[in-house]
Amino acid sequence: MQASDLGKEKKEANSVSPLMDIKNLSVFYGDKEAVKNVSMPIEGNKVTAFIGPSGCGKSTLLRTINRMNDQIDSAHYKGEIMYDGVNLLDKKIDVVSLRKEIGMVFQEPNPFPKPIITNLTHALKFYRTKKSEIQGIVETALKQAALWDEVKNRLNSSAQSLSGGQQQRLCIARALALKPQVLLLDEPTSALDPISSAKVEDLIIELKQHYTIAIVTHNMEQAARISDYTTFMYNGELIEYGETSQLFTNPKEQRTEEYLTGKFS
């Protein structure tokens, strides 16, 4: 709680500097360099999209921010991700608190095979949230994820009885229940049908007011629709970063233009 307050103060104090600053970041899986010397900011309360062909390192980059790559034994890093005055890649970082503050939603909807409400309270219990508060947090999170009206009468039925789109919004609600500062979305709509995708997109635009969002997507139209900034990556390298409107209409790099126009994928 304290850390997030600190984060807000800092954000307000220097509104010019970005919320997060990735500096010369390289990520290795064993000898393979999956992300090569990437530097870019992630602006607060904006949506930053990561686009690029499969295997270009965009998901790896995203998963490095909340240290999910720590799960993989062979993964190691070089460089820095500065956030609120600390380097997130520092060995001293408590990844548990980090992941609470920087939430993540994955490609496949992955609710726990438990009742809907348990999905939301699951992590809250780890942080010893008071019972009296839990009900309110659950309701707020589900409302933020635009799921409350659909599930309010069946909070105790299994999360797996929900449709794919509802499951994904539940996963977003699950992350929101922890009151994160940043949401990392790893291709959140790639497993969803167009209608469900549209709902999730609306939701992302809505959430931007309160959260900083980084989203990896294969869908360039989606990136154009919802993001403020876009990063194009290719072969682990950052090719171009800029405002979405500028990058899509008037890319500076030839490779960006070729990718956007479908010359390669």
């Binding site: 726990f112 438990k114 922890l178």
Partner: protein, 312 residues
């Protein structure tokens, strides 16, 4: 050949009409016969064993007029005694069940614990070292377990208790160690099959490894883990040799865990050789065998029940 077929218009040899005597058809039939007869053989064998054991097992009740209730609950066993004949099998039924449950009590936490270690904590080491070790343990013949129990565990218990060492406790430890690899390897498979998605979800919410194991992985794997334990119990229930070597084979009901006892299997293996075929004693042993068969069916039904619930 194919060309002539292609142009042929006669209905009996048209390439699209089923050819009744073609070599393909004959090969199909041959394969079908082989596979079907294997299946039929297995089914016949199972039915025959069940039927045979049922008929033999019921002889003592039908031909010799043994009271079923007395057989299942009686405490004295002296079926070939010169004087009073008593046929209470309860001590053996009790012995079998206690060895089974105690062994499961011993093997379940250890097996599931090491499975967690293997799949979640030390993945590479666990799978390179622990898994082969466990596979070797599965292959060790039960008589070897019995021998080790006889030379190590029985003397140990003798020194630390008032009994003579041969005991329910020794049986429990030996059988527990025997079923440990079964429980471990099936549990490890169960834990490995938990999708990475769910683990990621939990870690992504900032759960620690232990919280993830305890709150997400174990509940999700619970039905399969239960199956692992029940399979281990089925094996424990049917184990004869190793148990017989360490349990003492006393025909009385054990009074404590360090007391001697006997199981259904150990009584059958001990006595079967010196009974006359068709005698009361012999028939009673068949009845004990029938109990074993019924119990193994019960274990199978339990496993089926657990795994059918998992799919929901």
């Amino acid at each position: 050949m194919s060309n002539s077929n292609y142009s042929s218009t006669s209905s009996s040899t048209h390439r699209l009409i089923k050819n009744k005597n073609g070599s393909v058809k004959r090969n199909e039939l041959r394969g079908k016969v082989v596979v079907y007869s294997c299946a039929v053989l297995i089914i016949i064998a199972t039915i025959a064993i069940t039927l045979f054991l049922t008929i033999k097992g019921l002889q003592s009740f039908i031909v010799n007029g043994v009271n079923v209730g007395e057989f299942l609950t009686g405490l004295t066993w002296s079926p070939s005694g010169e004087g009073d004949v008593a046929y209470g099998a309860f001590p053996f039924i009790f012995g079998s069940f206690s060895v089974t449950f105690l062994a499961a009590l011993f093997a379940a936490p250890l097996g599931i614990g090491s499975a967690i270690f293997m799949t979640e904590i030390a993945k590479t080491w666990g799978q390179k070292v622990l898994q082969p070790v466990i596979e070797i343990l599965v292959g060790i013949p039960s008589v070897v377990y019995g021998l080790i129990g006889l030379t190590v565990i029985v003397p140990l218990i003798r020194e630390h208790s008032s009994g003579i060492g041969f005991s329910l406790l020794a049986g429990m430890i030996v059988v527990g160690v025997m079923i440990l690899p079964t429980v471990t390897s099936i549990s490890a498979d169960a834990l490995k099959s938990i999708p990475q998605d769910i683990k990621d979800a939990s870690y992504g919410l900032g759960a620690t490894r232990w919280q993830t194991i305890y709150k997400v992985i174990l509940p999700a794997a619970m039905p399969s883990l239960a199956t692992a334990v029940v399979l281990g119990m089925a094996r424990a229930f049917g184990e004869a040799l190793a148990v017989q070597m360490v349990i003492g084979n006393s025909k009385a009901l054990p009074e404590s865990i360090t007391d001697q006892a006997a199981t259904l299997t150990s009584i059958i293996t001990l006595s079967m050789g010196h009974t006359t075929y068709g005698s009361l004693h012999n028939n009673l042993l068949w009845s004990l065998g029938l109990i074993l068969l019924v119990m193994s069916y019960v274990f199978i039904i339990i496993i089926r029940f657990i795994s059918s619930r998992r799919k929901v």
